[in-house]
Symmetry: C2
Subunit: 361 residues, 2 copies
């Protein structure tokens, strides 16, 4: 399957096929004469990177594999600085192609390298986690963290090509897979009721990684995200904000508990649940939405509630963190709230009392 | 005077006026409600930065001054990393404006910060060296050095506004001023005979920093560079390459002698002289061009020859460095050669024997 992201001169294709990685040489034909640099963390490099590099070398490509340590802590100035130097030492030129192989961290790191080395070279995404396949590999956001803040340094840098192989999800830990499903379910709630129904009807097939269902699922997510990105490439019109459904709560949860306690999708599932409760409380939607959303989360073992024994100071910290969110102003929270399955709206009429009631409930 | 650089949604104006800095509040009206960060090296900060900050504060703007050590060595990952963190600590948001105040280094560093913090914020250039006023502040090239190579990490990031005050050139060292004149003279040779004649007729007025003449000179350089940038914003069509007249030789000279022995413009003056000699030798132009170009360089105390006692190993290193230039392939040098005053052409028919003859002559 192929999805096209239409962005004028930056238009590109996303190819979604089971075992596409075994046919990588075919998809890389246009880079036949260029230097290719595959950037990957050590774990993904061992599972896929070494093989892919060998396959491309055998097919006559000029390709090198550069690795960095696994984990969010590699989205740092230090990692990027080392990789910039490694690329220069290996003779990178303006025609070179940088390939991100791995999850969101690889996409962010390799994408930022591609956006900045020699003022920008071509970039290919080969996402290997569900989260990266349905979310971070589409949209062109790349970047790194500073000690003070996540994703604070970066660029909008669109790939030239995205290759997605649902087959690789077989090597993903179930908890990571389910975390990705939170973002998949989000697409259904925010913009496509039919897709939400598709998910409800195919839980077992999804869990079994049925090829046809997974290709359709991933293609639909990429299509939905691409539609938003096409309307608001650099996040200026506000349209792209609907993708943040559940994220104001979710980011606060990640902040307060420390990254790693909850995976991103787990925090987002709790965040979407809180947002839906708030929507009911403020008469934006009726209870059935919350019930169906929660049911689907639970089918994928995703949490929908904060721990019951949360001390008061952690709850307070949660609200503080939400207040610091760049989307909040003057004691009112700007949030994306669902109206019905398939439609959300932006609201700034949620005051702190209401939010407090939902969180402390 | 105002020059407009037409780049679709990235179109911006360059304002050239004597004492424009005393009217900065007027030009900054559109940033009235935003956080403004002025980035400057310590020297320029003491001469202009502190005053400008005070003027803007008094006029009610939210403005902060961030400084870094003077010199090319500040175009580093370390400096940028510290400034990224300083901006975050001071609460930078997406509406903020980063102002580069100073020479080429400030423009490069501040521009790279603006291109990358929060995936890009607005950027204003206030260049205070002649080189920055006529060259680096137009065109959107920003970036830093790695230990292995100059300007290897960066972006194309266009400013929202450029303010140029010829008056500030009065505090520039004469050698720095003359270095800037090498690039000014280059514009005449590569694309505008009339401008070359204007320079020949106004040497004394230029040396005295006559306001009218300097405004006209800077405006013309900005206009000529803008015309090239408009045709080839991201250096892909090859059109922008004519700006590299003298630079293949010039960069090699800077490399071999170490940065700082020759100022950039001094190395370029020698480079343009060698390129003109090569053009005569390879029948691209006649001798009168070299004579007039050399005469004009000498009026501004610019060197036009390598030291006469250069040891053989340094000459060899010079050729090696040219061979490493990204514009050279397979033992042939790709060069910009003049045909007549006001017109250059790209050539790849210069073989090493000819280059060797010119350099060793």
């Amino acid at each position: 399957m192929e999805q096209v992201v239409n962005l004028d001169s930056r238009t590109y294709s996303i190819h979604i096929e089971t075992d596409i990685l075994s046919r990588i040489a075919k998809h890389f034909q246009r880079f036949r004469d260029e230097k290719i640099f595959i950037i990957s963390d050590v774990r993904v490099s061992n599972v896929y990177g070494v093989t892919l590099t060998a396959v491309l070398k055998k097919a006559g490509f000029s390709v090198e594999l550069l690795t960095f340590p696994e984990g969010e802590s590699s989205k740092s100035v230090e990692t990027v600085s080392q990789l910039w130097q490694a690329l220069v030492k290996r003779g990178i030129d303006r025609h070179a192609v940088i390939v991100a192989l791995g999850g969101g961290v690889s996409g962010d790191v390799a994408g930022f390298l591609a956006a900045t080395i020699l003022r920008g070279v071509r970039f290919v995404q080969i996402p290997t986690s569900l989260l990266a396949q349905v979310d971070s590999s589409v949209g062109g956001k790349v970047g790194i963290n500073l000690p003070q803040a996540k994703n604070i340094v970066g660029a909008f840098w669109q790939p030239s090509l995205v290759l997605i192989d649902p087959h690789v999800l077989g090597t993903l830990e179930p908890r990571q897979f389910n975390s990705g499903m939170a973002e998949v379910i989000k697409y259904g709630v925010i913009m496509d009721k039919e897709f939400f129904l598709f998910l409800e009807s195919n839980v077992d097939a999804i869990k079994e990684l049925d090829s046809t269902v997974m290709c359709e699922l991933i293609a639909k997510c990429c299509q939905l995200k691409a539609r938003i990105v096409e309307e608001d490439e650099t996040e200026t019109s506000g349209r792209r904000a609907i993708l943040n459904y559940g994220h104001t709560f979710g980011h606060a949860i990640e902040n307060v508990f420390g990254y790693g306690v909850y995976l991103h999708g787990e925090a987002i599932a709790i965040g979407m649940t809180l947002a839906a409760k708030l929507a009911i409380e403020s008469k934006h939607c009726d209870k059935s939405l919350l019930i169906r959303q929660t049911e689907l989360f639970h089918r994928f073992d995703l949490p929908t509630e904060l721990p019951g024994d949360l001390p008061a100071d952690q709850l307070a910290a949660l609200l503080d963190s939400m207040r610091l969110d760049k989307k909040s102003t003057g004691g009112r929270f700007n949030l994306i709230l669902p109206c019905e399955i398939g439609r959300v709206e932006f609201t700034n009429d949620c005051d702190e009392t209401l939010v407090r009631k939902i969180v402390f409930d």
